[in-house]
Every structure is written in C-alpha cells, then in structure tokens.
C-alpha cells in the first residue's frame, strides 16, 4: 500500500490490535495533564443584565474573591452610563497548582435606559472584536506559539425575578447573542421567589425560549454522544438556574457559610435546597468549563471566521457592529 498523499480519516487497516503486555500509552494522559498545568488556562466570562441584579456579587461568589467591584459601593456615585459600556478586569487565580487567567467583562448600562433599542449592539461588537483579534493572529505568517485568547467563552444573562415571562428585551438579547456566543441565562435575586413560583417561572421561560428558537448553553446540537446528551438533558431541565449571590459569611449551625442575612432567616448560597448557585458553579467551572471553551473555539469562532472570509474586501468592522450586511453573493453567508 502506497503512502497516501492526501490522507483522510480512514478506518485502521488492520483493525483494533490487542496488546500483549503493558506498553505505557496511557502515560500520555499524565503528560498532557502536566503540560497543561504548567501552561495554565484562560477563561473569559461576560455578565449581562440590568443594574442592581447582583452581577458583580455573583461573580465574586463564583470565584470566591473580589473579582469585580460592585457598582453600589458606599462612597461611589451611582451614575447610570448613557450607553452600555463594557469593562473588563483580568485576574490570575490559582488552585491546587492550576493557574487560571480569568477575565470578567461587565456591562453597566445594559437595559437601564428609557429607550433600550439596540443596547445589545456594543456587546455584539465587543464579542466580534475578540473574534477578529484572534483571527488576525491566527492568519499571520509568523504567528505566536500561543495566540492570546480574549474571546468570550460564556455570557451569563441575568433575568430579573418578575415571576411572569421573559420581557421583550430579554428575548431580543438572547436571540441575537445565542447565535454568536454561549449564553447561560440565570434568574437573578431568586430569593424573592418561592420554590413553586420559581418552578413556574422556569417552565414559562423554557417555553418562551423554545417558542422563539433560542438555543442557550448547553445547546442540543452539540451533544456529542448519548452520555453527553443524558447529562446535558438533565441540565437543560433546570435552565435557567435560580441564583442568589452573597459575599458575606455568617454562622449557621456552628459553620461559617456564605449567605444573605435577613430578618426571616439566612439564605445559604451554597445550599442546594435554598438556591441553585451550586449548580451554576458546577456547570460553569467544575464540569463544563472546557466544554464552553471548546464550543466557543470550534463553533462560534469558526462561524465568525467563515463569515469574515466570505466577505469581499469590506473594512474589518463596519458600522454594522462587525456583522456583515448583505453580501454581494448573498447565498454565501450562513447566519
């Protein structure tokens, strides 16, 4: 058999071979672990929602450190910006030898104006700018050993706990953004809803999302195998998570727990019976972080790249916030 000049994914000629003894192939897993621990990880998360929904507190609770500065600090002037401004802050955190470069992008001013039309445009522009930056680095001739990744891996969208339905702003935003980034919707300040109200609210939101064909993370299309599907189906049943954020510790039953102290009790953030914060944390960090990055890289970034490379000589970011307008060849854009 002649060596193929252009190989494709071909099945092995000689089938699966039995090994007569230990070879040591599985050591490659350890090698990989060591290498990635040495190099470290990056994670970029964006939080979107109206002011006062507890975004900064949530991020601080997620990462157990003062990642974001709260807008409502004593001594700071409460000023609602005229347009949506994006603020990114980067930190390095380390746990058990694993280093992570965490970037949190906040969006103050979102949904706060009287007229909120197109308030998602700066956000879409920012996300596309990050894709553009990565693309430019990737197509250089002499490119860096590692391309710095500033692409947004996950966008947490905070839904106000009205208990009714999704508002037009929520629908518009999630519809547009779920096409270019992984959107994780959460019900903010869920301590104002009872458990029954929470459940009903969730059902209504799920129906709304389905009716408008909005696919939030974890998207059904990207389930790789039946195990994944099973796992993700269970998560999808619970989306959106009803969360409560807190950064102060209190004494409960002799233990120090993170929680909100009210006259009628202490809401324990990490108690699954009280709120679904642990599930959100597990999803975002403990089990699906790599998956968020992979989908961003393999799906969202690739579709951005296809769009970009099919454009004909248009300046990189037009007034359409980096979204291409009508292509000359119309049929080549696949939004």
């Amino acid at each position: 058999m002649e060596a193929a000049a252009v190989p494709q994914e071909l099945p092995p000629d000689c089938g699966v071979h039995e090994l007569f003894g230990y070879v040591g192939i599985e050591a490659v897993l350890e090698q990989m672990k060591v290498k990635t621990m040495k190099m470290g990880f990056e994670f970029n998360i964006m939080v979107v929602g109206q002011s006062g929904l507890g975004k900064s507190t949530m991020v601080n609770t997620l990462f157990k450190s003062k990642v974001s500065r709260k807008a409502s600090q004593p001594g700071q002037e409460e000023r609602i910006p005229k347009t949506v401004q994006l603020q990114s802050v980067t930190h390095v955190i380390e746990e058990k030898g694993v280093k992570m470069k965490l970037t949190v992008t906040d969006t103050p001013g979102f949904g706060d104006q009287i007229n909120n039309e197109n308030c998602w445009d700066p956000i879409i522009k920012y996300i596309n700018e990050q894709y553009e930056r990565y693309l430019r680095e990737e197509i250089l001739i002499t490119r860096k050993r590692k391309i710095p990744d500033s692409r947004v891996h996950g966008c947490v969208y905070f839904i106000p706990p009205t208990g009714h339905w999704l508002r037009p702003l929520d629908l518009e935003f999630m519809r547009r953004l779920s096409k270019i980034v992984n959107v994780v919707p959460v019900i903010a300040k869920a301590d104002t809803l009872t458990l029954e109200e929470r459940e009903e609210f969730k059902q209504r939101i799920q129906r709304d999302l389905k009716a408008h064909a909005i696919s939030v993370y974890p998207q059904e299309d990207f389930d790789e195998d039946p195990d994944d599907r099973l796992l993700n189906d269970r998560i999808r049943e619970k989306i959106p998570f009803a969360v409560v954020g807190a950064d102060q510790e209190h004494q409960v039953n002799g233990k120090r727990v993170l929680g909100r102290k009210t006259k009628w009790g202490i809401i324990e953030v990490e108690n699954p019976a009280h709120c679904e914060f642990p599930m959100l944390r597990d999803l975002l960090i403990r089990s699906h972080l790599q998956d968020l990055k992979d989908i961003t890289h393999n799906v969202h970034y690739e579709s951005y790249r296809v769009r970009r490379l099919n454009e004909s000589n248009r300046p990189a970011l037009s007034s359409n916030n980096g979204l291409p307008g009508r292509d000359e060849d119309g049929d080549e854009s696949n939004l």
Partner: protein, 427 residues
C-alpha cells in the same frame, strides 16, 4: 484543543494573583481537558527509516507489544517507497490511532541519489494536507485526523565505524521537518566498548554536520532529570524481538544465540527500554507538540511566503487575505470556466469526428444502394426482354393455333376424299 503557553503569568502580564477565600473548583480543569482527549482519541504517527533488513518491523512490534502483520521485504525494489499502515491500540481508556510509515527499499539501489526525496515529499505532503484544511473557509480542524509525522526513528547500521553518506544526507534533509531520534539497529552485533566508541563517533559526526536531532525536553522539573540522562544515551542501541525465551521462571522477549540470550528488555543488554520509556511514556505529548508548533509552523511560513502572502501590512492583513481569497476564488472560477470551455471544445470535436464517420458511412451506403439499383434495373430490363420474347412466342403460337383451327373448320363441307387428299397434300 487550543493550549496555553503563558508560563508564569505574574511576571509576563504584570497581573497580581488574586487570593481565593474558598474552594472554587477549577482544579478539575486538567481532568476536563483530559476527558475530552480521551473521547477524541490520540493520533501518533511514526516514520521508520532504515535499510532493508535493519530491523524496523521487529522494532515496532516490540515497542507496541503487538504483532502487526508484515512480511519480509525483498532487496530488489527499483526505488524507495513508503508504506503506511494504520492501527488502533487500546490501553485502559486510551485510544491510540497509530500510523507507522516505513521505508521500503531504502539503501538498496545501486544509485542512491533519489533515496531521500520520496521521504521528504511524504512528510511535506502531510503538512500540506493539514495546511490546506487550515486555510479552508469552512473547515473542521478539530475533527481532523492528523497524519503529520510526529517522530522519525532513523536506524543506523551497526557497522561500528561511522555514519554512511546516505545517512548524513537523509538526516540533513529531514532535521528541519521532523523530530529525528537516531537508533543503532541490531545492536547485539556490537560489543559494549565498541558501542560506546560508536555512539561518541556518531554524535560528533551529527554535531559537526549540523544535523539537529530531537532533544528530550529538559525545562520541566518533573522530567528534566531523566530526560537529560537519556539525552546522553543517544543514539539508542536497540534490539528487537517478538520471540520469547524462558529465563529463570519468566518468559521474556529475547534473541537466542548459541553463546547466550540477548534480552530485549534488559537495560544491560540494550537501550530498548530507554527508547520505549522516552518515546511513549515520557515524551509522546512533547513530540506531538514540537511537530505542530515548530516543524509545521516553519513549513506553513515557507509555504505562505511562497504563495505570496506577507505580514508587513499587519493592519491590512485580513483584508489582503480576503483579497487573496477573492483572487483565489476568481482564479478558481476562471479555471472552472476554462475547463468547461475545454470540455465543450472536446465535445464539439468529438461530435464533428463522429459526424464525419457517419457521413462517410452514409456515402458508402448510398453508393451501395445506387449500385444495387443499377443492377436491379439491368435485371429488370433483361426480364423485360425475356418477357417480350415470350409474349411474341405466345402470340406466334396463338396465331398458328388460330390458323390451324381455321383450316380445320373450312374443308368440313367438301368431300371426305378430297379432304383426305388435302390432308395428304398438306403433309
């Protein structure tokens, strides 16, 4: 899966490390990454270069503890070819898609000038395939079955003297394209002291010829010590065997001679264990990474420059790449049109030819037809003549018959005697 290479964050990025007040849980990240890789499986591609009979197949069988079916190769190949075979190996939960490419007929020809070119071409072809996939607009690079050669095991003949010219030339043409690990094959034919001398000679020759062989990485504390030691043992003197011999109360892979048994996995006998350790257990991941980040990038850079891309206008880079894509697209359409035109021309030509042939046939048939018509006419005329003749005969006969009848009716009235006399007279 994109990997990171920031090193110590703090210094490079000037970022402060944020203290965590509790367990967040991202320490599972390496495990998440590993789980993804387990699902996808690993690809590892080995290129084995060595003269016919230098022990390539046996070595691979011994390394991977399995028997890839292979028959012994003849020495009479007219040129060097490459034979690639794909296997899938399972060990615990790791799936390894292994491709072993061996040279066939290397060093056998009388004129060895073209020996290494097929190898270089093969390696380049794999890089090219990956590059093409990467440049595609709609690509699936995370699904791509990587066929780039990750390591080249170069087997040197155990002459005990020095490198052959062929070895030098081949390795020189490959050292910037692939990770080369030189090995001394069939090392059981060299004694220990000769071996040390041989190794030193080989290394000095490699260094003086400027050939870069693969150095096991020494920057990571976990493996740097053992890698440094191993680097000093290169080239590994290996012995391969798939036969087992009973030593003590164990069955070990070995070669049995009248004067003793050479045990493959005995470190005192040969460096086989070191090779397996370094190749698979310690540095497989690094070999794959070096191939991607060093050799492939070099190839890519050269190719893109060849194709006319430049980085100088880094501001306009995407636009000029788009222009290049546009130009490529235009070229493609032009090519398409040209091909279409060519095909059309060919078609027209064929039609003309067929027409000519048919016309000729038609003419022939026409000629035949006319000829037949002529013949038919002639026949008809002949028959006409005959008919006329026959008709005339019939007319004559009828006339005679009529005359006879007339004569018969006339003399009925006269005497019978006279009739008789008339009849006699008529006779």
């Amino acid at each position: 899966i994109p990997s990171c290479d920031y090193g110590p964050y703090f210094k490079i990025y000037g970022l402060r490390s944020l203290p965590l007040s509790g367990h967040v849980g991202f320490d599972t990240l390496p495990d998440q990454l590993v789980n993804k890789s387990i699902k996808q499986g690993f690809c590892f591609n080995i290129l084995c270069i060595g003269e016919t009979g230098s022990g390539k197949s046996t070595l691979i069988n011994s390394l991977f503890n399995t028997s890839f079916d292979d028959s012994m190769s003849t020495h009479f190949h007219p040129n060097v070819r490459l034979k690639a075979q794909r296997y899938e190996l399972h060990e615990s939960n790791v799936r390894l898609k292994l491709t072993v490419v061996s040279t066939v007929g290397f060093g056998d020809q009388i004129n060895k000038e073209d020996s290494y070119q097929p190898i270089v071409d093969y390696i380049d072809a794999q890089f090219e395939a990956y590059l093409q996939e990467e440049l595609k607009i709609k690509r699936s690079i995370f699904n791509y079955h990587d066929t780039r050669i990750h390591v080249c095991l170069y087997i040197i003949s155990p002459t005990g003297h020095s490198l052959k010219t062929l070895d030098l030339l081949t390795m020189k043409s490959l050292d910037s394209k692939v990770n080369i690990i030189p090995l001394i094959g069939k090392a059981d034919s060299i004694s220990k002291t000769e071996l040390q001398q041989f190794k030193r000679k080989l290394i000095s020759e490699l260094v003086s010829s400027g050939i870069h062989i693969y150095q096991f990485p020494t920057d990571d504390e976990v493996v740097s010590q053992i890698n440094t030691i191993m680097n000093g043992h290169l080239p590994f003197a290996v012995v391969g065997s798939t036969e087992v011999v009973k030593i003590g109360n164990k069955m070990v892979k070995a070669r049995q001679y009248p004067w003793g048994v050479v045990q493959v996995e005995n470190e005192n006998h040969c460096d086989f264990v070191k090779l397996r350790e370094m190749l698979i257990c310690t540095n497989m991941e690094d070999l794959i990474e070096q191939t991607h980040t060093r050799h492939y990038e070099l190839y890519r850079r050269c190719r893109l420059q060849e194709m006319g891309f430049r980085d100088t206008d880094s501001e306009n880079k995407p636009v000029s790449l788009q222009e290049a894509y546009e130009a490529k697209r235009r070229k493609f359409y032009l090519e398409l049109q040209r091909r279409e035109e060519e095909t059309r021309q060919k078609f027209v030509q064929r039609v003309k030819e067929k027409e000519a042939v048919l016309k000729e046939a038609e003419q022939r048939i026409q000629a035949k037809f006319e000829h037949l018509m002529l013949m038919h006419q002639e026949e008809k005329q002949k028959l006409e003549k005959k008919r006329k003749a026959l008709e005339e005969e019939i007319a004559l006969f009828n006339m005679k018959k009529a005359n006879a009848e007339l004569l018969q009716t006339q003399p009925m009235v006269s005497t019978p005697v006279s009739l008789k006399r008339d009849k006699d007279r008529k006779k």
